[in-house]
């Protein structure tokens, strides 16, 4: 089979229409610019919960009145960070006192940084080196709770649990 020879002559000029393509690109670009809302990076803080047991007894015979219900969000830890807030209608919700209770008694700290340093220093003497509990007053603002939680995680306690506020009524 003979190959067809191309004759030298007036070649066909291929013109790619770029302008409509550009128009469309500009429109899409405009749409994205209008919908561009750069927001702060949101992150997650995992909560530590007690091991999930059977939520409800399958039958009446299985109900044991002596068993602690598996609805608490507290975890078993050797240390509890207690945070107090004033009730003076001026600084309500702010931190007034930070203390740590454990086997060695109670220690009070002037700042979150001091708390973090203490938690780091006592960790090696603990049996349970990963769990810690936060107990805050009802009125304490969530911002400070997260601040303390952050300090606990930074100090090397990845499992942070929450204890009920001491001034919370018996029925939630």
């Amino acid at each position: 089979m003979r190959r067809r020879e191309l004759k030298a002559g007036p070649g066909t000029e291929v013109d790619l229409p770029i302008v409509p393509f550009l128009d469309m690109s500009f429109q899409i670009l405009f749409f994205f610019i209008m919908n561009y809302h750069p927001s702060a990076m949101e992150g997650q803080m995992d909560m530590s919960l007690p091991a999930a047991g059977e939520a409800k007894a399958q039958s009446i015979e299985q109900v044991d009145p002596n068993v602690v219900p598996d609805t608490e969000i507290e975890i078993k830890s050797e240390l509890t960070v207690v945070i107090r807030t004033p009730h003076d209608n001026v600084n309500d919700g702010a931190i007034s006192q930070i203390s740590v209770t454990g086997d060695q008694g109670e220690m009070t700290f002037s700042s979150v940084e001091a708390l973090e340093r203490h938690l780091k220093s006592v960790q090696r003497d603990l049996t349970n080196k990963t769990d810690i509990k936060i107990q805050a007053d009802s009125k304490l603002k969530y911002y400070f709770v997260i601040q303390i939680m952050d300090a606990c995680v930074k100090a090397g306690y990845p499992n942070v649990g929450f204890a009920p506020p001491p001034d919370l009524g018996s029925t939630p």
Partner: protein, 150 residues
């Protein structure tokens, strides 16, 4: 000096570099676009935490609980926020039961994501967490704004 009729000058701007640039910008916006999710309330100011981890993309079964500064729970599908704790309790119970119907008894794998305003009281956050657990939810996360580690 005059031009002859057969020597017309064709002035065509070169659009290809412009198109390249536009496509690059387009690519940037397509990648970084973050449409506001219906479940996430942007008006809630989250607290800042250095140890907040980047969000896991593989978690798909989630229930967002947005708690605003007034201490109200804002949820998808309800125009009015839930004020009363009884309403919150009923909502969580209904959500758990609905999810149990789909997943099977005791097999609900929903992650509760708490997005609480930084001015919310600890009491409310604690009560909601406790109520979630009481209803049967087992996985919970708190949301915060990631702060660069110093």
């Amino acid at each position: 000096m005059s031009h002859g009729a057969d020597t017309t000058i064709k002035a065509e701007p070169n659009l290809v570099p412009l198109l390249d640039l536009v496509l690059q910008m387009l690519m940037f916006f397509i990648i970084t676009v973050n449409f506001v999710s219906g479940q996430v309330n942007e008006s809630i100011k989250l607290p800042v935490a250095q140890m907040a981890q980047p969000m896991k993309k593989d978690i798909t079964d989630v229930l967002y609980l947005n708690i605003n500064a007034k201490g109200q729970l804002e949820v998808v599908g309800k125009e009015q926020p839930l004020n009363d704790f009884g309403q919150i309790k009923n909502f969580l119970r209904t959500e758990y039961r609905n999810r149990e119907v789909v997943a099977g008894p005791g097999k609900v794998n929903t992650s509760i994501i708490i997005r609480a305003d930084l001015n919310t009281e600890y009491k409310l956050v604690y009560q909601i967490l406790r109520q979630c657990k009481e209803q049967g939810f087992r996985k919970m996360q708190l949301r915060a704004i990631q702060k660069a580690k110093s």
